[in-house]
Every structure is written in structure tokens, then in C-alpha cells.
Subunit: 203 residues, 4 copies
DNA sequence: TATGAATGAGGGTTCATTCAT
DNA sequence: CATGAATGAACCCTCATTCAT
């Protein structure tokens, strides 16, 4: 979003005290946004929930969008770390396990960061940034799949990856829907579908 | 509340002029909400885009939420009509065609009613209403699948339906993502996955 | 309020149907105003409660204020009729009875027309009209008292009347205060005070 | 809610600037409400008349009602302080003086705080709160009277107090009615009535 | 004449953001 | 740096009143 290198922070904090503040503010931001959505979240409440004043909040995040950006950054780092783990085992693990791992990946992330979806799904965030995020995600899945399909043409791989990624999102969505009866069985069903697909396409 | 079908309208229009207004307002509402999301949409803009005054809008829709409700109602009617068609052919059509039909179902609906997703996905709408809608959708898919799996136990059918429904949503989401390169191929891939799954489970 | 002779009606209704309408509208107006106050009352609700359309309401009352004026007129007629009765007996009745009658006068009126006070007390109504009403009331009380104090100087009589009028209002206010414990006893106390005063001054 | 006294303020001001603002806002609120009534008073106008922006007003008063509540609180404090003075002398002062003091009490208060009556009389304010206020007032008058009627039974005392309180209100109302000719004489008449009553009942 | 629809100024309230201490 | 206060555009919604059928 910013033209600078990365972080959405206006001035990265120098002292320890500052770093703690930022962490608290981000945590509060995640909470509030998860509860009320991006539009519903107020800077005032975020600050309050972090035990800070609005002034303090604005010291570190010059904009409401900056809070969201920072959260997104943080989240994406976690997601990528998680995918690193899967990629490392992708070449050797049984396909069934790979399917499981993929299905669980976003489930875990979403459960841990309920604000994630709100930020990505809702149209409020800069579309360019979500496009970037999506592209990165696809590339990660491509990389994972390539471990099992060394010579598949790039286009085909890309299509597969897009499909698989959707499955991963589906799993997360399903897991998050508390009103769904038999949620566990349904998740397994989804996983089975993915597994069958992978077997058909990769073996 | 009323003995009639329900409708979010405060006072259903009685003159022709009124009925036209309501239609225009609803269309405008769909447009604006699709463009800017529920929170981003403004009653003032909806009215303006319908060529009506703000007072006119409120004459028929007592609340911003009422506009959303009315849209949802309208959309769900369309979706159900569409699913009726699929259900009618479910027993006889080849599985591949069924898979196709399912994948296309929400794609079509979403393309025709871009506001739908905004309303269902964003947390702003009454959760109870969404739960109801979801339940209805699941039942529809269950009904469709049952035509091909007459004796499958209910629980198993339900799990399958949930998975299939997610695929339908995935297809719609994919179709809507303009930034996805090779979107057509990816959609086919998704459809293939669903088809393979149905064959494995229903035949 | 209007420069015409009297009634606040825009066009006094000619047919019976019309007269019934006006009566219903006025009754509805009284109800709504009593419940929600003048500002809180809406023309729409008044019309609805009378089973009429706003259009219809405006046909007879060109303005919200016109409704109030008409009610006031109606009320004042009733009050004056009531005072007529008291005046007729003022010369002969025992002082205690006179005190009683005076105390009850506004109590009765207020109970029968709860909108009265709202209209007179709240500053929303044309002050000139209230002034007129108050003057008339004072003159009525003066007339009543004069029956028992034939030669009292006018100024003294006026002062007495003003005081007595306040007692009458006090009684009505007390009677209307549902939260007052021992309301009945308190009212009697008030009446006793008035009685004592009348005896001291008139005998 | 807070452990402190209560106050209708959302966030009690902490800086001097804030405290001054609140005072100015309250004063403006009193003015505007006195002039136009509670419903007629506008938050915008209150803010403007205090030389503040509308946001500033809402910083301290979360609601229009909160302004009224704060005023009421302030007024009642003043009234009670005034009654303290009367109560202190109630035991020793001549009855005529006591009557005078009582008659003047609300006259003074009302003259100093014209918004008081508007708030108490008009039905717009939370009825529970006025009930509370009324009860408190009655108890104060009871306490005053008890100084002169040590063994009067509670019920009788209560009835007397209610009557006396009405007299106090009547005096204030009379004093406020600019259209009343011979207002001074009328007030004296009222005072005389009260005095006579007290002599009859307390001596 | 009766009715439903149309209008739009105005009201209360919110909130991102900026300032002064 | 921290904090509380200030600002005002914008929002949702109401309602007296006027029109057209």
C-alpha cells in the first residue's frame, strides 16, 4: 500500500515500550475487526481495547487502513510460514496426508486469525493488495503441487492450483460455519474430494 | 408478521407508480451495494440512483436493512427457481452434466446479482437470516443428490451436500475473480473435481 | 389563530360522512397527542388511528397546529360549560361545596381530555392563544367568586381568582400524578386549604 | 454505573479546557431548551450557542437526553441546597416567614433556571427520573414540615407536604406567567392562602 | 373527494482524523 | 511521545406538507 518498503507503520517504534504498544494495538485491532468487521470497527474502540488513547494509536498507524494492512501483513507471514511446512513435506508425504494438510492449512489460520477473512473478503481493502495476496497464495500452491508433478505444464499446474486453493478456502469456510450440522463429516467429505482429485491428477 | 408472504417492505405499494418505484429502488440498491458493499452503500445514493428522493425510498423501505432483506428475498427466489430446474433433471442427466449444472448454478446467479455475495458473506446482515438461507440451500442440494442416491443414509447425504455446496460457491467465487489468469481452465478443473467426486460417490 | 371567526377547520364538512370523519380525526388527534405530546404526535399516525389517509386529514386540517387549535376549542367549550354549572350554584351552595366543585372542575376535565394539558402547558402552541384562554378562565373564576363577594374591589377579586385558579390546576395536576402515594388524601388536603381560604376571604 | 456520583456525561472531562466546555455546553443547553422546549431544542444549536462544534458536544454528552439529565441533576442540586436553607430555619421562624420562604423557593429556582420546568413538565424526559425527583422533593417538604409538627402521623404529614408542594409550584407558575395582570398581588394572595393553611394545621 | 405517493429540509449521531498541551 | 479534546462531513432516518390520480 505504501510506497515504502513494507510495514504499514508510520514510524516503527524504537523503544521496547513502543513495540509492545504496537503489538497490543494490533491485537486489539484484530479483535475488534473480527467482531464487527472492518467498517464496524472504530479507531476509538481499537485504541480503548488496547488500553491506549486514540492519539497513541494514530502515532503508530496513520490511518485505519494502515491497521488493516499491518494485520494483513502479519497474517500473510503466518500463512506463508505454514505453507513452508507443507511444501517441505510435499514431495514425500502420502497424497492423503497432503490433502489433509492442505485442507487444514487455512482452517487453522482462520481459526487463529478471525479478522483475516473479514479483511480479505470484504471489499473495503485496497483491491490491488488482495490481488497481490491472492497471486502469492496461488504461487505457493503451485510450488507445492510441482513437487508431485514435476513435468506438468505450467498452465495446467496453475489451473490445478487455483482449484486446490478454492478447496482450501472452502474447508476454512466450512469450519467457520457454526450453524452447519455434521460439520466434521462434511469437512472430511471435502477432504476426500480433494484427495481423490489429487490422486487422479498427480499419480 | 403479515399474513402475506412477508417482504421487508413497510407499506407494499398499492398504485402502479409505487410498484415501479419499488422496482427501481431495489435495482438501484443492488447496484450500489454490489459496488460499495453494504456498509459503503448509502441510502441517499440508492435513492438518487433510482431517480427518487430519499423520502420516497423510506416510504417503502423503513430501513437500510430492509433494502438488503428485500434483495435477499428476491435473490433467493431466483436461486431456488434455478435449482428447481436442476433438480428436475437430476435423476436422468449424465453425472458430468449434473456436475456442470451445479458448478454453473451459482456462477450464473452471482453474475446476475453481484450484490448477493456481498449481502451473504459480509457480517452485516442478520445472522439468523443467513443461517436460514444456508439451511434452505443445503436442503435443496440434498434433494438434488437424493435423486441419484436413493438409499444413501441422511447423514451421509448431508455431508455430501455440504461439500457440493461449497464447490458451487467456489466456482462462483472463481468466476468472479477477474484477476485470476486462466480462469476458464481453472473453472473446468474445479468442475472436473466435482464430477470425479460425484462419480466416486454416486455410482 | 386564524383570522376567520372561529373553527380551525379549513372547510367545515358539509355532509354527514364528513362530520363523522372530523370527529374521528379529532378523537385520534387527542389520543395521539395525549400519548406522545404535541411534538411527538405525527399527522400520519393521527390519520392512521382515525382510519383515514393523510390526504384526508389534511383535507380538514390544513396544518398540524390546526388540529391542536380545534382540540383546544373543543376542550374550552367543555370547560366553560362545566364552569357554567358551578357558577349557577355559586351564590347559594355552602362554601365547602364550592371549594369541592372548584377542585374537581379541572380534575374532571383533565381526566376526560388528557391532551388538554399537553397543549396548554407545552410551549409549542401559539402563546397568544394560550393567553386568551387563560384570560377567559380567570374571568370565569372571577364571575364565580363575585357571587359570594358582591362588593369586593375588582383588583382584589382578580388576585383571589388567580390564586383559586392555581388551586384548581394544582388539584388537576395532583390527580394526574399516578406516582403520588396517598393521592386521595393529598387532594382532600388541597381542597381543605382552598376551603379555609375561601372562608377566610369570603365570609 | 460509575463509582462516582453518576452524571449523564459519557466521559467526564479531564483537562481544564474540557471542563470549561462542558460548562458552556450546559449553559447553552439550558438556554436553548428554555427557549424552545426539549423537542424544539437542537443539538446543533446548543453546540453553536456554546461556541463549540457538534462533535464537541457529543464528546461529552452522548445523547440529547444526556444534556437534559445533566441539567436536571444540576438544577436539583441547586433546589436541594435552597431547601436546606429553609429547613434549617423551619423550626424557629414565624409561620408567615416559612410560608413566604416556601412560596419563593421555586419562584427563585424557576427564574434562575427557566429550563427546569420544561424538562420536568414535558413528557419527553424519562418518567422514572421525574418520579424520583418528585419523590425527593416531597420528602424535603415533609422534612421541613416535620420541624413544626413533630408528632403528626406520617400519612397526614405526607398529604400536607403534597399540598404544600403544589402551592410552591403554583407560586412559581404564577410568577412565570407574564400575561397575568396584578401578578404581584396574586402571588401575595397565594402566599396568604398557604400561610393560613399552615397556621390552621400546624399550630 | 379520497388516497397513496413524493418531497426534502432538518434532526440526532458517528467517527476518522488533526491539534494543542 | 502521550493524551484528551476538537472538528465537521456524512449518515440514517423522520415528518409536515404538497401532488397527482
Amino acid at each position: 500500500m505504501s510506497s515504502q518498503k513494507a510495514s504499514a507503520l508510520s514510524k516503527p517504534p524504537q523503544r521496547r515500550r513502543g513495540r509492545e504498544r504496537v503489538a497490543a494495538l494490533l491485537a486489539a485491532g484484530a479483535q475488534v475487526i473480527a467482531e464487527k468487521g472492518y467498517d464496524g470497527a472504530t479507531m476509538t474502540e481499537i485504541a480503548a481495547r488496547a488500553g491506549a488513547s486514540i492519539g497513541s494509536l494514530y502515532q503508530f498507524f496513520p490511518t485505519k487502513a494502515a491497521v488493516a494492512d499491518a494485520l494483513l501483513e502479519q497474517y500473510m507471514a503466518a500463512v506463508h510460514a505454514h505453507l513452508d511446512g507443507i511444501e517441505a513435506q510435499a514431495a514425500t508425504a502420502p497424497l492423503a496426508d497432503l490433502a489433509q494438510a492442505l485442507c487444514h492449512a487455512l482452517v487453522t489460520m482462520r481459526a487463529a486469525n478471525p479478522a483475516l477473512v473479514v479483511l480479505i473478503e470484504n471489499g473495503t481493502i485496497d483491491p490491488a493488495m488482495i490481488a497481490t495476496i491472492r497471486r502469492a497464495m496461488r504461487q505457493r500452491v503451485v510450488a507445492i503441487l510441482r513437487r508431485r508433478a514435476r513435468r506438468m505444464p505450467a498452465a495446467e499446474l496453475a489451473a490445478m492450483a487455483a482449484a486446490v486453493l478454492q478447496m482450501m478456502k472452502s474447508a476454512a469456510a466450512m469450519h467457520a460455519d457454526a450453524t452447519l450440522p455434521g460439520r466434521k463429516a462434511a469437512l472430511e467429505e471435502l477432504c476426500r474430494m480433494l484427495c481423490g482429485y489429487l490422486q487422479a491428477r498427480l499419480d
